[in-house]
């Protein structure tokens, strides 16, 4: 969260549209994959530069250019010139700390969103940025790093001719990509939900600070998730009502479906937040209950024993005239009195339901 602000802060003072990559530098070559397809034909090429794979835009075919790795300035410049992109679009693609959004430009739509990935080992998730450019007959997708995330979609594209994905235009391909991104949100929510279910059981039985810390950690992760998912819903809604012929009526029906999924993700997120808040309340009351337990123990033992000590002390005084002092029944009577005090105390505590 902080890194995001930090990156933005470092850019302060730079003119807008400056192509500065805010992610980590890397020496490896970026990977460019170009797929050109229509209902009947399809071709796929891979390279390190745009010109390696995109020779010519064939009429009547859709092109999908998938770029993995943003640290190569010349590749980005090449893409910009080839597709005639606005300088701000380039700036937004390179600045990997964007808020999810949709922006309309003259001949394309620009979508930026967060890809979440569940990391089962650390019980946590990673956040990466995906930028999408939807043109009349092309889709450009930009990842920070090498990623196998859309292999599924590519395989499907290559598999059968005349399927829906091949017959529809670039907007439908973009929908498929967005749908895959939103589906991942549920994988992350499932991972967090498992932890929430687990900690809920444990915090009831043992309200330890460790468990409370886990709840706080989950709450913070919810904050991060919220920053990614809430604006995503707005973005999809924007896409749904964009006044542009780029999005066909056919695809809008599908986008409505993704919108519903994003709503469901938000519902779940907010329910999780409510549950975590409830757990913290439960934890705090658990602490007070524990305190009551401790205090009861202290009080019971102290108040039981102290009168005995008092009585013994009285008979330990070096004074004359203490009753029973010289009686042979002395100890019997005094110890009976002590036993009586203890019994009375016990009855009193029993009545108060302390023991």
């Amino acid at each position: 969260m902080f890194s995001e602000v930090r990156k933005r802060a470092q850019k302060a003072g730079q003119p807008p549209g400056t192509a500065i990559y805010t992610g980590e530098k890397s020496d490896s070559q970026p990977l460019v994959t170009c797929v050109q397809y229509n209902g009947s034909d399809i071709s796929e090429k891979t390279g390190n530069q745009l010109k390696d794979c995109l020779t010519e835009q064939k009429p009547g075919m859709n092109t999908w250019v998938n770029v993995e790795g943003l640290h190569n300035a010349s590749l980005i410049e090449e893409t910009r010139n080839h597709f005639n992109l606005h300088p701000l679009t380039i700036e937004d693609i390179l600045n990997i700390e964007q808020r999810p959004k949709v922006e309309e430009f003259d001949h394309y739509l620009f979508v930026t969103m967060k890809i979440l990935e569940w990391l089962p080992k650390s019980f946590s998730f990673s956040i990466n940025q995906l930028s999408l450019i939807i043109g009349k007959d092309y889709v450009l997708s930009f990842h920070e790093e090498k990623s196998s995330r859309f292999n599924e979609i590519r395989k499907r594209l290559l598999s059968t001719p005349n399927q829906r994905l091949r017959q529809q235009g670039s907007d439908y391909l973009a929908y498929r990509i967005i749908d895959a991104v939103v589906d991942q949100y549920f994988v992350v929510l499932e991972g967090l939900g498992d932890q929430i279910e687990d900690i809920e059981q444990r915090i009831i039985t043992s309200p330890t600070p460790q468990n409370a810390r886990t709840v706080y950690r989950l709450k913070r992760q919810m904050l991060l998730l919220r920053k990614a998912i809430w604006p995503m819903r707005e973005a999809i809604n924007h896409l749904l009502y964009v006044e542009d012929e780029l999005i066909t009526k056919f695809t809008r029906v599908y986008l409505r479906d993704v919108y519903d999924h994003s709503m469901q993700a938000i519902d779940t997120l907010e329910t999780f937040r409510d549950m975590l808040s409830g757990m913290l309340d439960m934890y705090l009351s658990g602490l007070t209950i524990r305190m009551n337990e401790i205090m009861k123990t202290l009080t019971i033992i102290t108040t039981t024993v102290i009168p005995i000590t008092a009585l013994s002390s009285i008979y330990g005084m070096n004074l004359s005239g203490v009753p029973l002092m010289h009686s042979s029944w002395g100890f019997s009577i005094v110890s009976s009195l002590m036993a009586l005090i203890v019994i009375l105390m016990m009855i009193y505590f029993r009545r108060k339901k302390w023991i």
Copy 2:
């Protein structure tokens, strides 16, 4: 709640419109009931497949197809082809973890909602999904499991000709089904309300952790209920203002009424939530009061007895020159002093209103 997310998560990576049933598998045959009716005529057929009961769509008659059991893929496919449904509709019917919603398609409306059923034995409720397709002269309803829920409506359909239900179109039948669903919400709210009333009495008289746990459990059930009822209200509102001739002006008056009922359910739900929050506050202050009680007891007994012990100890010292040590009035004076201290303490505590 988690299961919902889990199902969705398992679907991640699947192409949209894939007909995957997300509920539990079952070996039993699904049950299909078809009712065809108009003001004067009516026929009812039952079977395991659509063709068993739906031979031909008679003109001027309304058809109600009620499917119980979603695990048979071929039945669903048959229905899809017969009524020309959108692939997303089928996906949504089979995915039993939908958020309640209304979707408009070219020649039909798709409604998905949650059926709540109160389970008196476990003081809890079940959540099932009902999908409804409202066409020009047909209504399709899809349940997860065998269900006797709409027998009442079927009986009524069969009972008298020329009644309102028979004379009106498919939209009125759909309204009747939705109305029956919303009415069940009040049964669930009644069940929970009884428990809330009960726990409210108990948590005042005995603020035990068990009672607090019951309040937390009820709060969680409210979260679940909220996820079902809030979007239902939006869905009915959507239906009310749908720009489609499928919903007649006649039926809209009735839908407005269901909308009011859903508003009332939400009002009640939110009031319950407020009451439960109030109870938790009351419980927490109850814990602190209890703590105060315990501390008062400890303090009173300790501060009463300790000065006696101190005085006794002084007279237990093996020192010479202790006043009254050898006086025959010694014990009388010292014990009077002790009594005096106790009485002064009592007066002090009385003034502080501790006893």
Copy 3:
């Protein structure tokens, strides 16, 4: 609150428009009062049936039918037929657990609202339902029970000819009834406000659980009140902007005034709620302060006396070689030491501002 849900729950499974009275049954006859009036003429008749008092609707005159008691089905049926009311209207009139609302029908407006009555003896209020039907030249009002609430308005109608109330149409009469209902809200708010002012004083001086319970009770009453007043505001707003010639421009000016009053009632209600929340916070901090007081007392007495006991015990040991043991100054020195310890303790507590 629960009763409301319960009634609705009992209706589950019934077809809509079923005329089922959800209030308590009664053997007494309902009372029907019909007033027909215009600027110059007026007549009033009373009976147990509609035909007893409403012989014919005279042209150019307004009719006010006031029904007290809803348990007589035939009377309701008679009214329905006479004024050609929608079945849902009848259902809503008889279901006394409605949410306040306005509904537009073809030739009339249907208003349902809550009448609040302050019960000074129990420091509480009753909630009853009033249904109002505003037609072109008639107003129908339905009460659950015999009620003298609108006698004031009836007297005024009968009093002088050519006054505003007589010259204006049915919408103005309806406004007068609604205005009288909203005015009662302020009577209830005054009653509760007096209690809030009273408890606010008391909870500062003595933060007892009894006083806290009173605050919780008031908070709950606010919840009830809220459920009645908030939707009332919406209903009046709806009436204000209803696109219907039934409400004249003349009357709209007056309705705007009632709307302002309902806003003021809500403002007051919300301020009361904020004040009650503030009181609970004050109560909780009061409990902690009290705890601090108790603990301070315990600590001061214990820490003062315990060193004395320790010193005395040391001199009570049956050991040889204890210094001062055989000195004749022994007791003087030891007791001075004790006094010194007590004084040092006192200085320490004084510095900490505990005493």
Copy 4:
């Protein structure tokens, strides 16, 4: 706050438009000031009745009638007839418990708002009502009591001809009055802000109940302020967008400025509320910290001294065979042991960072 409700409650049952003054009765005569002006000419008259000062409405001149004191029914009646006011307007002027609002009538605008006055002696503020009627060429202003509040504006009117205030119409004069009212809000906010700043310092250093009470008092004053300022913002906004030629485009620019001021007052108010809430949290945690301090002291002294007492008691037993009993090193060894226990305890507490 309560008085407001009470007044409204007393009016329950009265017909609308009844001219009942809800403020305190007074024997003194009301004061009426009439100023007639245009760019070049101006005249001012004062009296107890409208006819004393308003002889005739000169064409091309603006009239400002300022009424101080509302308890004289005939004066109000006279004004009503002269300016042809709606009965509800008169009712609203006399009912001094109005919610700030703007109402449009056929030939005038009616504005009611709260005048706040800071009372430096009581560190509090008074709330009075000001009603304003803006006609084509007149402004009427109604105060509850004699008031020198608008002397400034009157002086300015009288001072120079051809200034903006003299050249513009009645709407500009009304704007000046509203602007003066809103400016006073900042005086009150300044007074409260000083107190908040002051108490913030004190509650950190000494979290006493007295300081907490001050915070609660300030919170309540915020509630009162909120009830006055929030609706004021809505009212000014209403005035800004009123579809009426009474408000010229020239004046609207100025009203937008007052609107911004009211927004700023609300921002400040809400920031104050947040700060006060933060202080209460700080106070509550302060109480718990104090409790921890007390408990630490008790624990340290008790646990240090009690082992000494135990050891002494053992050597005080009248038993034979106690080790060291008859040794001449007895006391030295035992007292060394005691010292050791104390030192070990101290080390333990030091490690726990309690001392």
Copy 5:
């Protein structure tokens, strides 16, 4: 925050449009910088008065007048006359306590906003006001004090001809200034974020009042920040949708980008607020845990030692008939009993998981 209200309060009673500077007085001369430019030519002049640097407005060129220092009334008057500004604009420029806003005037747009500057030494930030006037071919910017903030933009203007900044109109220059202001928000958020991250670590390990105070301080700074950033977002949104040809379609694309940045700043701000609230909860529960620790220690030591004392006291009584009194095994048996009690106590506490 208070100063703001105070300034406004001092102005109460002044006529609107009065040019009163509400900042601190200064003797130094204000600095005026005028830049005139188009795609090919550029000239820059500096002086203390407008006429020093702005000789004539050349047609086809854009003018940027940057004023640093607002305390010279004649300079402001000169500017007003030269550019024909509305009196309220001048008032708003001089009143340095404005809420960020955009106002439309006949021939220019007026923007007022807050410049935040991070002060690394005090871990805090300063708030200054910047007013911007956007005319057809000029931009006026007004700072309170001498400032080097826009040197970067000026340098860039002077650097290369025919760059975007030189070719676009005054609206693009204004955008660049606003963009620079919003970028600074991220620098401030970064500074605060570092502190939040730091305190989050510390408050877990040591929940001291000092750390809690730091959290409260950060929370208050968030309140201040919120007052600056939230209205800024509204203002930019207003600018984005202003119906004026002053803002070209070209520039609107860039303004949309600044709007997104302001949204991101708000998202971060609100996340910070949530995190700080979470920390305070964590701190409060930390206090209670600490209390539990203290109480446990007290209870364990007290309840372990007190029975030993009690037993010793019994054997210290000067009574005859005490068992074992004269037995030579006496001490061995009694001391074994004592050891047994201690061991039993330890087992009990171990079971309760206290030790």
